[in-house]
């Protein structure tokens, strides 16, 4: 994949953001007020109780929703809608059943007009990465739940967005596959310096992956913890088990756990 230097301009800002959903005429507050910035190249993990507004926050940044109040901006410009710069891995796999797995993964490059040989190569690379090379010609509905999730991840990564938004991307994966993909994600992040927003309900995952960990309160979600984490930044040589045994790691994990339980 192409090496892209983190552009200083790609910082993300939430300013006084609130979001309400209208349910049967009544307004249900779902998020906010939320204020924070993300520097380019950060790998921000977000945790919080179920229904606290994590997905809502991500959808606001993706441009699927407009905030009821406040502004969401990327590189100083208000988010006006979805764009290729912000790739999204959905919480519920959202694949296109009329395309094969391979063509789902190739879709981004194809939309950009990448030639078929190059497309094929990119698709092969990412299908291999997520372990779906042997079902490349299946249709999405012929995949298991975890395989669909992996296909989605491959599709987004193959499009090489500057900002990757991932909503519980490893939620349906077994421990082994999950660990492998965590490592791959870290490797990609280190190599390309992408900005990544990663929602997870696993405290361990949040602490292990994030260069910064956010914890949200129950609905309407606000940020109740915002901590730098150093474990993602470590060199690749440090084995995972050792990282998990570090006192600082254990302490942060406990801190996050307490913040969620609060």
């Amino acid at each position: 994949m192409a090496e892209q230097a983190p552009s200083a301009s790609r910082s993300i800002a939430f300013e006084g953001v609130r979001h309400h959903f209208s349910v049967g005429g009544a307004a249900v507050p779902a998020l906010g007020p939320v204020d924070f910035e993300i520097e380019p190249g950060e790998l921000v993990t977000i945790a919080g109780p179920s229904g606290c507004g994590k997905t809502t926050l991500l959808r606001l940044l993706a441009g699927f929703l407009a905030p009821s109040e406040g502004t969401v901006s990327v590189a100083g410009r208000r988010v006006q809608g979805p764009a290729a710069e912000r790739g999204v891995v959905f919480q519920q796999p959202t694949l296109f059943p009329w395309l094969s797995v391979r063509r789902n993964v190739e879709l981004g490059p194809r939309l950009r007009g990448v030639g078929s040989a190059a497309r094929h190569e990119v698709a092969d690379q990412y299908l291999e990465l997520v372990g779906l090379a042997d079902v490349a010609d299946h249709r999405p509905y012929e995949l298991s739940g975890g395989m669909q999730q992996r296909c989605q991840i491959a599709r987004v990564l193959a499009n090489e967005p500057e900002i990757v938004l991932m909503d519980e991307p490893f939620g349906a994966l077994d421990a082994l596959t999950r660990e492998r993909l965590q490592d791959e994600l870290l490797a990609i992040w280190r190599a390309t310096g992408r900005t990544i927003l990663f929602i997870t309900h696993s405290v361990d995952e949040a602490v292990f992956l994030g260069s910064r960990v956010l914890v949200m309160s129950p609905r309407p979600g606000r940020i109740v913890l915002d901590e730098r984490a150093v474990f993602a930044d470590r060199g690749e040589r440090v084995p995972d088990e050792e990282v998990r045994a570090l006192p600082a790691y254990v302490e942060l994990r406990e801190e996050v756990r307490r913040a969620i339980a609060a």
Binding site: R18, S22, G25, A27, P29, L65, A66, S68
Partner: protein, 294 residues
């Protein structure tokens, strides 16, 4: 309208002020919409007037708006048979135009109602049982039959009164409704059926509690298409002994080359159809709020 681009409309907010602005926004949107319709209608009328004014089309085929308006007014009032005559007649063919419309509306209402009442259960049955295999060719046969070709048979069986006309409308309506239902049934997600069956639903319960609601969006579209179809059939239905009836009136006026009255009738038919369809669309919106979301 599906949002392909740009940001979606912000949803309701909690504060009273913002709620007020939201209501204002909605009112503004509605006004804008009205303005757009008004403008396009005005443009159309102007175009029509210009075309007739410049003599591009002869009044025999497209009379100027004023003539059509006159015919419309005449058809809704008691008026002398000719200028100066003291024989006063009521509307056209002894009925006012709105009475013609009402008569046709009645027929359409019964025909469409019957077609929907039969079409939906039949479609459900055909989509879910072996009955579909047996009946599908007959349904396809039926829905390809030209009404003009079998109205004779209907008259024989049901007489020349309203019954045969209603049957014709019914036969026009029910196949598209059944087709839409069948198509909808085939689109029901298998796991939703599995889910309800695992909850202990009987065949019939699965049909009413899952297949029917899941099929609703397509069925409603089918009903809208079928209702439009019923309107196109109303002239054929009312050619024979169709007074009062707006289709019968249009036919008779056509025979006499009274184009202004024909156009007036057509416009009335079209406007009535638009109004009916608006109602159906409204129904659709309130019945199927989940479209596109799940």
């Amino acid at each position: 309208m599906v949002q392909l681009e740009g940001r979606p409309v912000p949803p309701t907010t909690a504060t009273p002020e913002s709620r007020r602005t939201e209501r204002a926004t909605r009112r503004r949107t509605r006004l804008q919409r009205l303005a757009v319709h008004g403008a396009s209608l005005a443009a159309l009328l102007l175009g029509w007037w210009l075309v007739t004014r410049t003599g591009l089309v002869r009044p025999l085929y497209l009379p100027p708006p004023a003539d059509v308006w006159d015919a419309f007014v005449r058809a809704n009032t008691d008026h002398p048979i000719s200028p100066g005559s003291d024989r006063i007649v009521r509307g056209e063919q002894n009925y006012y135009l709105w009475e013609h419309l009402l008569a046709s509306l009645q027929r359409i209402a019964i025909g469409v109602g019957g077609g929907v009442l039969l079409g939906i259960p039949l479609g459900l049955l055909m989509g879910t049982t072996w009955l579909g295999v047996v009946l599908e060719p007959y349904l396809n046969f039926l829905r390809s039959l030209p009404p003009l070709a079998y109205i004779g048979l209907l008259i024989v069986w049901f007489g020349i009164g309203d019954t045969s006309k209603i049957w014709l409308l019914f036969l026009a309506v029910f196949p598209p409704v059944a087709m839409a239902t069948i198509s909808g049934v085939r689109g029901v997600r298998e796991d939703q059926l599995n889910a309800v069956r695992s909850l202990g639903a009987s065949r019939r319960q699965a049909l009413t509690s899952v297949v029917l609601p899941a099929t609703l969006p397509e069925v409603l579209t089918g009903i809208r298409v079928a209702t439009g179809f019923a309107w196109t059939t109303v002239v054929a239905a009312e050619i024979a002994n169709g007074i009062p009836g707006i289709g019968g009136l249009a036919y008779l006026a056509g025979e006499q080359l009274r184009t202004p009255l024909v156009i007036a009738s057509i416009l009335v038919i079209g406007l009535a159809a638009i109004a009916l369809d608006l109602g159906l669309k409204h129904l659709e919106k309130s019945l199927v709020p989940w479209r596109g979301k799940a």
